[in-house]
Symmetry: C2
Subunit: 118 residues, 2 copies
Amino acid sequence: MTTLAERYLDCWNTRDAEARAEKLQQLFTPQVTYTDPLAVAAGLDELGALIGATHTQFPDFVFSLIGNEDAHHNLSRFTWGLGPTGAEPPVIGFDAVVTAEDGRIRAVAGFLDKVPAA
Amino acid sequence: MTTLAERYLDCWNTRDAEARAEKLQQLFTPQVTYTDPLAVAAGLDELGALIGATHTQFPDFVFSLIGNEDAHHNLSRFTWGLGPTGAEPPVIGFDAVVTAEDGRIRAVAGFLDKVPAA
């Protein structure tokens, strides 16, 4: 049993571009919109490129779920950490996602709760 | 200076149906979608009726902003309390809202963080 949030974060942790594109196609609608404070992406290619850029920026970091996913109707919210495996994550974020009728994610609203001091 | 969250909660606190309808028209697009764990509304009339039903259910309660609104791009998130004026709110919720190009809210994703024990 894998939740939407777990599948979502697994996409963000998939470094191989081809494998990631396949997972994105399964989890997101083709016209998905993604918006966080630092980036906007429209469609699977832009979202995949954004994830790839994050891996370049944080080569040793992984995304992990913090706390419980909270889902109802076609909505879900969850908090995640980004950091070295097993360590206190220096980055903490929050996503609210909207699914389409087929269950795939059609919109992501991302926010940041903790970012490293500059 | 009134923020989006403040205007949003002011709509929820407006008990006069006619005054509320006018405020809703200014703050929300005609096709607004509203979804929380307990209710779904599509359009201004359904949203206004939902707010009215909440007043019937909680005649002495008011909505108030908790903490700071966090907004970027066309998104905003904030936490609110629902309870007697000046008292610790027995209900706490969270909304993420999406604005249209004209600045009006076109979608609300609502969640509950605290509800009274049954």
